[in-house]
């Protein structure tokens, strides 16, 4: 494969890095007053990348034509599918930010630049074909994320979130690196293809340790139990647009990366990682559900909800089949608008002076004071709970279908029974909004961008979303097949 072909395949990443660098210079010279122009430019860059990636996903690109730089980078349909979600979610994080930050004048020109670099990192992550590429992408994303978490410099909680995220993230990176070095030591290569070949047959104890540490490091990134402790604190402390970003795009990237590592590099040893994934899946579902019950802050609540959702995604991974990988992608595609919509709704909860409201108790009687917002939020809550006819049900449905087809019936039954615990706290939010007497603290108005984004998410999650199942199914199947074709 010649250099030109490789460069063509990484064109979206090149666009992202160039625009990130140029915008950084613009930010440095023009200062914060250019922040809105930079945001728009960043959105355009993300949009351009979105449309560059889309054809590969539609065509189900796979095979040697999608491999760049001698296997270090893979621009197949699987990576493309994840990138589409990443770019869309990053765009949403850019759209909602100005209204939030401008209230106390903390909208800075670095915000869109950091989001761009984070998106670039994630884009590299999902395309990684080598442990080195994996690590570079992961760190580029993480370093941007640490800064983003602490973006409200004057706010103690935000600084705390950034610091916590950094310390624990560094620990996880250390674990991951340790696992990678063990894997390299016992297989003699860092490329997924090489690891795959070296691991065929009996697995040595050292390589098993490598596998465990790599998975542990990645579990931290997707905030799966037992590596989830940072999630509620960081989600609560980080500025809400940043939390929206954390809950959507990096989650997609980390899950896609985990899937690639598990199916591709460690594919021959599926039995070795399956039990770890099953444990993490069930533990995430239960801990996420139980943890959410006692929360009084809606961002913490959504953090536990995201832990809960990761558990369902991991059930798809645990199957180890093409159908399971496809189900994961469908789940993610539904999860992203669902979680983006929920956080946009949280952003729209403002008091009279426009200050953010985060207490769940303040939602009381929202259906009477702000009916449109309450109905949208209700649709999203029932959707997160996986109650049909809302579209969130479909994500759980395909995941459990894959599990049943892979003969993991006990896992499916336990997982779905535990989802009832989760349903309890989602309907609690509905109860507070619809059954309780109005607290009437939510008074602030929101701009059209928030309303538009919320409306799009709510419509997607409504029963109308089922009309997309056909398209979604074809795309996800193509993407999953691409993953397995390489593997």
């Amino acid at each position: 494969m010649d250099l030109a072909a490789s460069l063509t395949l990484v064109l979206p990443e090149i666009i992202l890095s160039l625009s990130g660098l140029v915008l950084l210079l613009v930010a440095a010279w023009a200062g914060d007053k250019a922040s809105s122009a930079i945001s728009i430019a960043a959105c355009i860059a993300l949009g351009a990348c979105f449309f560059l990636v889309a054809p590969a996903v539609c065509a189900g690109a796979s095979g040697p034509d999608t491999v760049a730089f001698y296997g270090q980078f893979r621009a197949d349909a699987f990576a493309g599918f994840a990138k589409l979600m990443i770019f869309a979610a990053s765009g949403a994080a850019l759209v909602v930010a100005p209204a939030f930050f401008s209230r106390n004048g903390s909208m800075r020109a670095e915000y869109p630049v950091l989001v761009l670099f984070a998106a670039l990192g994630m884009s590299i992550m999902v395309s990684a074909g080598d442990l080195m590429t994996l690590y570079i992408g992961l760190e580029l994303n993480s370093l941007s994320a640490y800064v983003l978490a602490a973006f409200l410099r004057t706010d103690g909680r935000s600084a705390e979130a950034g610091l916590k995220y950094f310390v624990l993230g560094a620990l996880a990176s250390g674990i991951l690196l340790f696992g990678m070095s063990l894997t390299y030591g016992f297989t003699g290569t860092t490329s997924f293809e090489g690891i795959r070949a070296a691991l065929a047959g009996e697995m040595s104890t050292g390589a098993l340790f490598g596998l465990v540490f790599v998975l542990a490091g990645l579990a931290f990134k997707i905030s799966a139990v037992p590596f989830h402790m940072w999630t509620p604190d960081v989600y609560e402390g980080a500025p809400t647009p940043v939390t929206l970003f954390f809950a959507s795009a990096p989650k997609v990237a980390a899950v896609a990366l985990t899937a690639r590592v598990a199916f591709d590099a460690f594919g021959p040893q599926a039995d070795a990682w399956r039990q770890i994934v099953i444990f993490a899946a069930l533990a995430s579902i239960v801990v996420g559900a139980l943890g959410a019950i006692g929360q009084s802050n809606i961002k913490r609540f959504l953090a536990y909800s995201s832990i809960n959702n990761v558990g369902f995604i991991l059930i798809g991974l645990a199957t180890g089949t093409v159908a399971g990988a496809s189900a994961m992608l469908v789940y993610l595609a539904i999860y992203v608008p669902m979680t983006v919509g929920s956080f946009v709704a949280v952003l729209m909860l403002k008091d009279e002076s426009g200050g953010p409201i985060e207490g769940i108790a303040d939602l009381a009687g929202l259906s009477r004071t702000r009916p449109a917002l309450a109905w949208c939020l209700m649709a999203l809550m029932f959707s997160l709970a996986g109650i049909p006819p809302l579209f969130g049900f479909w994500g759980k449905f395909v995941v459990f279908q894959a599990a049943v087809e892979a003969d993991l019936i006990a896992l499916a039954a336990l997982g779905i029974a535990a989802s009832v615990i989760g349903a309890f706290y989602y309907i609690k939010i509905v109860k507070i909004m619809f059954f309780d007497e109005p607290a009437d603290t939510v008074r602030g108005r929101s701009d059209w961008a928030h309303w538009a984004l919320l409306a799009v998410c709510a419509v997607l999650m409504s029963p109308l979303g089922y009309l997309l199942t056909g398209v979604l199914d074809v795309l996800a199947d193509g993407a999953a097949a691409a993953l397995f074709l390489v593997a």
């Binding site: 259906s367 009477r368 109905w375 029932f382 109650i387 049909p388 006819p389 049900f393 449905f397 395909v398 459990f400 279908q401 049943v404 087809e405 019936i409 499916a412 039954a413 779905i416 029974a417 989802s419 009832v420 349903a423 309890f424 309907i427 509905v430 109860k431 619809f434 059954f435 089922y466 009309l467 199942t469 056909g470 979604l472 199914d473 074809v474």
Partner: protein, 506 residues
């Protein structure tokens, strides 16, 4: 009628009405809701009129593969037709009964119209997953109806209703996924004739049972029902008792029996045991209730137990009896809740002690109430008699013990219903405010008179209702013929007795 997707239309009308109700004021919402339900009722009559008795098993079928993994497949047989008729018949009455609702009327009407669409969808779905979606989706509007417009403890009742039914049905989803994986189709008519391995049937049956037993509800998972009924507004109770409980029975007759016949026979004892306990125990509980709605709620559990024993008798009388009890109970318990609602609207209490001697100041009301009480008891000439008699005749062929215990339930039923009627309608007028209540208004007449007519029609000429279902019930009977259990009452004259009972049924 060819080419008109009448079932989709029946789903669309209330759906559009519901969306419209969300955006208009109270008065307009009431009108829209009434109009939408009446249009749906008219469509229902059209459906019945065009239903070809003795024709194809599945009629008015529609199929549009617009989703991945399942399709928009609708179609009805006689059993579904009757249950759809019950739903569309009760809905306009429910809307009329909601006159006393004065807060958030638009949302209330929208919730009811959504509910109607989902109920029709449950009975009309011909795709396994489409059925599941409709079946589960009903939780959302019902949760809101109980929680927003319910009584004092509405929040507890709403949670209990939601979580109980959800826990019951999620396991059913896993079973459905397994079945589809095994059989390779989501088409309900195909699955009804698919022979699953006997070992797996037990598990599948239990998973479906978990869902339908809660919905039905069977003892001991019935405890959500009294709470939900007592707290729900009148119309909510009517829909809950009239139609939602029937989804459990429909599930048994559509899924458990034809899809898992071996397991059904194998676990017959479980159904019988739970039903016998339910009949006796809940009847005794009903006897000591001080709250009218609670009493009727417990009586529902007892009546539903007759449905389950009838279904698991594995013969034509049993199936027909179960269906007739379902239809009759749908009308009668709905009517009884309406009767409670009529006096609740006047005095705002459900406590039986606060009433008394109502036949003096409300003679017309007392007459209607009497008719429905008698129907609930199972007096010949009313709808419930037909069903209860057939169900007991059916079960007698299988087990005389079960019949004996269940027949006790009828006696106990007479006891608690007559006791209720006596305390409310007869005796001295001990409370001045109760004595001052005016008799039925025109609106209340319009609610009760149609149900009274239907109850009498069903009691006097049940053939109208049995005829559309006959072929389907015979098909079901043929399907379970290979596993038909040996009855304990088959003495020398058994065959003749059975033939006579059979003749009597038709």
């Amino acid at each position: 009628m060819e080419g008109v997707p009448i079932l989709s239309l029946m789903l669309l009308v209330p759906m559009l009405g519901a969306i419209a109700c969300l955006f208009v004021n109270a008065g307009t919402a009431r009108t829209i809701a009434l109009a939408a339900t009446l249009v749906d009722f008219a469509l229902g009559i059209l459906l019945w009129a065009n239903y070809d008795i003795g024709g194809a098993q599945w009629q008015f079928t529609e199929r549009a593969p617009i989703f991945a993994g399942f399709s928009w497949a609708l179609g009805i047989d006689g059993i579904a037709l009757m249950l759809i008729m019950l739903s569309v018949f009760l809905m306009p009455i429910c809307i009329l009964a909601s006159q006393s609702i004065d807060k958030r009327v638009g949302e209330y009407m929208a919730a009811f119209l959504f509910m109607e669409a989902l109920m029709i969808g449950v009975f009309a779905a011909q795709d396994l997953f489409l059925f599941y979606i409709f079946f589960e989706a009903g939780l959302i509007p019902m949760y809101l109806i109980i929680g927003v417009w319910g009584g004092k403890d509405r929040i507890y009742a709403a949670y209990k209703f939601f979580l109980y039914t959800l826990l019951g049905s999620v396991l059913m989803l896993i079973a459905m996924l397994w079945m589809v994986n095994e059989a390779g189709t989501t088409d309900i008519p195909t699955l009804m004739n698919y022979d699953f391995p006997a070992g797996a049937q037990t598990w599948l049956w239990l998973a479906f049972f978990a869902s339908f037993a809660v919905k039905m509800p069977m003892w001991p998972v019935h405890t959500w029902l009294p709470d939900a009924h007592v707290q729900a507004p009148t119309a909510g109770s009517v829909i809950l008792a009239g139609v939602l409980l029937k989804m459990g029975g429909y599930g048994f007759i559509r899924f458990s029996l034809p899809m898992f016949p071996e397991a059904s026979v194998q676990l017959m004892w479980l159904v019988f045991a739970l039903s016998m306990i339910a009949v006796v125990l809940t009847s005794l509980i009903a006897l000591v209730q001080e709250d009218m709605k609670k009493l009727i709620a417990y009586s529902s559990v007892a009546h539903m137990a007759l449905v389950t024993v009838g279904l698991f008798a594995f013969n034509v009388q049993g199936f027909e009896g179960a269906m007739m009890v379902m239809l009759g109970h749908g009308l009668v318990s709905g009517a009884l809740f309406l009767c409670v609602g009529v006096i609740y609207d006047r005095l705002h209490t459900r406590e039986i002690d606060r009433y008394g001697g109502l036949s003096i100041n409300m003679p017309k009301y007392a007459l209607f109430f009497m008719l429905f009480t008698m129907a609930s008891v199972g007096l010949p000439g009313t709808s419930n008699f037909v069903g209860e008699f057939l169900a007991l005749a059916g079960i007698y062929q299988v087990s005389s013990w079960v019949t004996a215990v269940c027949a006790t339930g009828i006696i106990l039923g007479a006891a608690y219903m007559l006791y209720l009627y006596w305390r409310i309608a007869f005796g001295v007028q001990k409370n001045a405010d109760a004595a001052a209540m005016p008799d039925l208004s025109a609106r209340e007449w319009a609610m009760l008179a149609p149900i009274a007519a239907a109850v009498l029609w069903m009691g006097v000429y049940p053939e109208s209702f049995l005829a559309p279902m006959r072929a389907d019930i015979q098909a079901l009977d043929a399907r379970v013929a290979r596993v038909k259990p040996e009855g304990d009452a088959r003495l020398a004259m058994g065959t003749v007795a059975r033939a006579e009972a059979h003749e009597g049924a038709h």
